[in-house]
């Protein structure tokens, strides 16, 4: 890569400028990706972390957990099916709560679960609640930042029911609100008509194969089943939020491809005569093509490395202020995509280089 390196060295300013643009674009790509991931988990980590293959909802509930209402009969029917698929009911209730003795209000999502089931969250502080004590709940630890501590009493604004925080959990949010897990004894207090004995659920978490799922939908009337992914899409605002960020990312990739394509194309056009001379004195097309690809890759890899550093640097500065989550595997995926896009951008130039005829070097006084 004798030629490629020396040209990079010689035309430092040019390549620095284009490199700078690439760094900015890659940085933006990574940052927006991290933001999208962060927002997505801030929005719905409870669903993402849920250890269930499918959710059973009431039919016609449009994939939305909070629109679905399942009766105890349906739960019994699902539960008692042969095959022994793990299943557990889930109650979801969005509401506003206050701390006892304080006026500050917070939006939360109450999740009623069987705490011995697969839906039990991971406790990071305090002790796991039991299925019997209606007073105890477990709150996502993001509430700690709002001043809640273990043993604090919380008041549900709609019903006036009070609970005690017995534990803090991690990575539990739904529709951008922290999730408070409770058992079904506590759940009764949140029902619009607590006197009514029949329990009401919103969904049933269910594990099984796609075939078993088909059979279940066929046999039990009045239900539909959705995957976790579909449940995410059904959270109000989730699709819109992720969609607009994804669109930005896609555009950035397209822009990166075009910026690189134009830069290398102009550079190649400028050097057509030079390529003609090189071919005439015996440089093979393969050598020149490798040279160009080497330059594109060097530029992209160096820009990527810098932008990855910048992204993590900025995310450290902003941690806690902005929801941001960027795993190494996502960075790797983005980087590979970026490399692929930059190679695609150089195709036009490669085509020109291949087409150049050595004979152009003869009889030219350029």
């Amino acid at each position: 890569m004798f030629l490629a390196l020396r040209e990079l060295q010689h035309a430092k300013l040019r390549y620095l400028l284009i490199g700078f643009i690439m760094v900015l674009i890659a940085w933006l790509v990574l940052f927006v990706t991290g933001l999208a991931q962060g927002l997505s988990s801030d929005n719905a980590s409870s669903i993402q972390n849920m250890k269930a293959d499918y959710l059973v909802l009431q039919e016609e509930s449009d994939h939305r957990i909070n629109r679905s209402v399942l009766t105890g009969e349906i739960w019994n029917e699902v539960q008692s099916r042969p095959g022994g698929n793990p299943a557990t009911p889930l109650g979801v209730h969005m509401n506003t709560l206050t701390k006892e003795g304080s006026a500050a209000k917070f939006d939360v999502a109450f999740f009623a679960i069987d705490v011995e089931s697969m839906l039990a969250p991971r406790v990071v502080e305090g002790t796991m609640i039991s299925n019997t004590d209606a007073d105890l709940v477990m709150a996502d630890r993001s509430l700690k930042e709002d001043g809640y501590r273990l043993g604090d009493r919380i008041v549900d604004q709609a019903t006036g029911a009070t609970f005690t925080i017995a534990a803090f959990t991690e990575g539990q949010s739904f529709s951008h609100a922290p999730v408070i897990h409770m058992n079904f004894e506590g759940w009764k207090a949140l029902q619009p008509n607590p006197a009514k004995p029949a329990p009401i659920y919103n969904a049933i978490a269910w594990n099984g194969t796609p075939e078993q799922k088909e059979a279940l939908v066929r046999d039990v009337s009045g239900i539909e089943m959705i995957t976790k992914e579909e449940a995410l899409q059904g959270i109000p605002g989730f699709q819109e939020e992720q969609g607009s960020l994804t669109m930005m990312i896609v555009f950035l990739f397209v822009i990166a491809a075009f910026v690189l394509a134009v830069f290398f194309y102009v550079m190649t056009i400028q050097k057509i005569n030079q390529f003609g001379v090189l071919k005439a004195i015996g440089a093979g097309t393969g050598y020149l093509v490798r040279s160009l690809i080497f330059q594109v890759l060097t530029l992209t890899i160096v820009s990527l490395a810098i932008s990855i550093g910048l992204t993590y640097g900025v995310s450290l500065l902003l941690s806690g202020i902005v929801p941001f989550s960027l795993t190494p595997s996502v960075v790797l995926l983005c980087s590979l995509l970026f490399l692929a896009v930059s190679l695609m951008g150089s195709l036009l130039s490669l085509y020109r280089v291949i087409k150049i005829d050595a004979i152009e070097a003869i009889g030219r006084a350029a």
Partner: protein, 232 residues
């Protein structure tokens, strides 16, 4: 025949096909031996460039046969033509056509790299060539900071780098004043004699012809030869 550096036997070249074809070279035969420095002169459009392209393995002739040394090179696939140009032919173009981002020494080393030669030997060869052409003090300069004559000398050094059998020079003095032009051509002639290789120079400049062993004329695609160099 073994001592021929370039042998062209009844070579013709036509462009286009059928009705619209134009005959640019018409039945050209030429035999160049080692140690010969041949000038090719002729008016514009006479076919000089086509002649040089065919001699330089950049074009294949329509008819006729071409040998370089013992190898027939009339019709070779593009890749072999490339290798032939790289190892057996040295080019000196109009206004030198050096690579702008390479230093003088790297211009020469590039030729070795292209021919897959690595290590100390090519570097020694490059230094030696630059020394002989009086360019040692310019080794690490880029072409932009050289004078026209120096650039053309670098081009000559580059052409000799892979020790080719044949040097082709396309109006090497076009961008030089006559004194510098003469120095450059003189150097080319000296190297040809020294190495017992061959060189063909296409030129408009009749003042250079006395430095050549033979002068051939191309007019309307036909070649004619005068054995004695003429001095005007």
């Amino acid at each position: 025949m073994t001592s021929s550096k370039l042998l062209m036997d009844q070579v013709s070249k036509e462009f286009g096909d059928g009705e619209t074809s134009a005959k640019v070279l018409d039945n050209i035969s030429l035999d160049i031996k080692g140690g010969e420095f041949v000038a090719v002169v002729g008016p514009s459009g006479s076919g000089k460039s086509t002649f040089l392209s065919i001699a330089g393995a950049l074009l294949s002739p329509t008819r006729g046969r071409i040998w370089m040394g013992d190898q027939e090179v009339t019709r070779l696939p593009a890749k072999q033509m490339n290798q032939l140009r790289l190892r057996h032919i040295g080019f000196v173009f109009q206004s030198s056509n050096l690579i702008p981002y390479l230093t003088v020494r790297d211009q020469l080393l590039l030729m070795a790299k292209l021919a897959n030669q690595h290590g100390q030997e090519p570097q020694r060869r490059a230094d030696d060539l630059l020394h002989r052409l009086g360019l040692s003090h310019r080794k690490s300069r880029h072409p932009e900071s050289l004078s026209g004559g120096e650039r053309q000398r670098v081009a000559i050094a580059r052409a000799w780098m892979n020790d080719p059998e044949l040097i082709l020079a396309d109006e090497p003095t076009a961008s030089l004043d006559s004194e510098r032009g003469r120095t450059v051509v003189q150097m080319l002639a000296d190297e040809v004699k020294l190495r017992r290789k061959a060189a063909i120079m296409v030129t408009h400049d009749k003042r250079m012809l006395d430095l050549c062993d033979r002068v051939v004329y191309i007019e309307d695609g036909k070649l004619s030869e005068r054995t004695q160099p003429i001095v005007l």
